[in-house]
């Protein structure tokens, strides 16, 4: 499990310097415009846009590939059967295996959209420090409760993951999982084993719950939730001024919005 979200968030590139609010709005609109594409002829265009943005971000290609690998396999699992089952135009046949044209085209469309959206989402999240992203979403109307929950969850995710792996190691050292799997009935989980794993998850919840009580006291002592001081862990960032709109950041936003609109118009026409 790799949790470092901010690995490449501090590089210097036009995308890193882009004002976070403009970047969030611009790239999200672009992502939805990519999802709008149904015409196969537009797939190379959206892939080219995503590739250009990624090269502008100066993040290494290995980062993109490592992030695409797992969801890529999952996606293939969902759509791999399409070329064999869907459509009427047979283009290749060998015994019971039949490749159909419509299925292949549908698969290319889904894979193209997926690559373009995933790459752009990675640029959006990878070029902004996570705290800045949450502050930006907060200033764009995300409820404070969800923003606070996001940051607290993020903060303790690492702790709890470490906690679980320590407990799992302790279970293994005491002999859990050493029984011979081959002697057991296939497709039947062992009830005793299930009970032990439920206790493992339960212990994780109890520990987290008790820790949260201590955290809440510490937060209160620092003034969290106080009406007088209005202390909140997540402040909404200041709204963009009209001067921001005349800078490169503003130009970037206008450009992405134009590209997104042209994609949607091209799709409709």
């Amino acid at each position: 499990m790799r949790f470092e979200l901010d690995e490449y968030a501090y590089l210097d590139s036009p995308l890193h310097r882009w004002e976070p609010r403009f970047k969030l709005i611009g790239l999200l609109v672009l992502i939805f415009a990519f999802a709008f594409v149904k015409d196969l002829r537009l797939v190379p265009v959206v892939l080219a846009i995503a590739a250009t943005l990624y090269s502008l971000s100066r993040m290494p290609l290995s980062f993109l590939i490592s992030r695409l690998r797992y969801p890529g396999f999952f996606l293939l699992g969902v759509i791999l059967l399409l070329p064999f089952l869907s459509g009427e135009t047979v283009i290749w046949q060998c015994g019971v295996l039949t490749l159909r044209q419509e299925g292949i085209l549908a698969m290319l469309l889904v894979v193209g959209r997926f690559l373009a959206i995933m790459t752009t989402a990675l640029i959006l999240m990878g070029t902004t420090p996570f705290l800045t992203t949450v502050k930006t979403m907060r200033s764009l109307g995300l409820p404070s409760l969800i923003a606070d929950m996001t940051l607290l969850t993020y903060r303790y995710l690492y702790d709890i993951a470490a906690n679980l792996s320590t407990m799992q190691q302790a279970m293994q050292l005491r002999g859990f999982g050493a029984s011979d799997q081959k002697k057991r009935l296939p497709f039947m989980p062992d009830l005793r084993e299930l009970g032990l794993l439920a206790s493992l998850a339960g212990t994780l919840f109890v520990r987290s719950y008790e820790q949260s009580e201590r955290i809440y006291k510490a937060m209160r002592l620092r003034g969290y939730g106080s009406e007088k001081f209005k202390v909140r862990p997540v402040h909404a960032g200041s709204p963009p001024s009209s001067a921001d709109l005349r800078t490169w950041s503003g130009a970037g936003l206008v450009c992405t919005l134009l590209v997104a609109t042209s994609l949607v118009v091209a799709e409709i026409l």
Partner: protein
Amino acid sequence: MHIPDGILPASVCIAGYAIAAPFAWYSLRQINRLKDPTEELPKASLLTAAFFIASSINIPVPPSSVHLVLNGLLGSVLGYFAFPAILVGLFFQAIMFGHGGLTTLGVDAVMMGVPALVAHHIFRVRHAFRQKLGEKLATNIFAFLAGALGLGLSAVIFFFLVITNIPSGFDAQTEQAAVYGLTLAHLPLMLIEGTFTLLLVAFLQRVKPELIERRG
């Protein structure tokens, strides 16, 4: 069980957000009615993180192993906090592992969150059967149902969305049969998820009863 980016057309993604919004709004309204919502916030956040991590536990089912979804359990323990918790959890899964996606966040939140809220209400029904069945049996039965139906409902929504939206060219009858078939194939997983929820709730009731009595 998440729908990745790219599969669903933009209209379905936007509809997902539009359906998720009122559920999020209603959940936040119920939370704000609590005596002190800020006190509950760290508890809900750390439990969200713990659920997120616990769903990575491998359950050995020879010859392979399965992961649990735990949305039924999440609803039972967190109550109305379950919907924002699922939004936050899905957001992290999307940006950390690319599991799910930003365009499908709304759809995925409906798919996981609405069954979690249903599970919350199923789990509450146990209070009505306390006298008749006894405290322990009633809790066990409704914990099992909450866990199993939480996953089952999510599976139905997942297969319905994927099969009706993949540009497959199948006719309506084949699609319907596929949805039924794939959901039936999930019955054993529902049994495992329900049993796990039952065992976990029984554990919490022995060790830290306030964890399940707070919201449920």
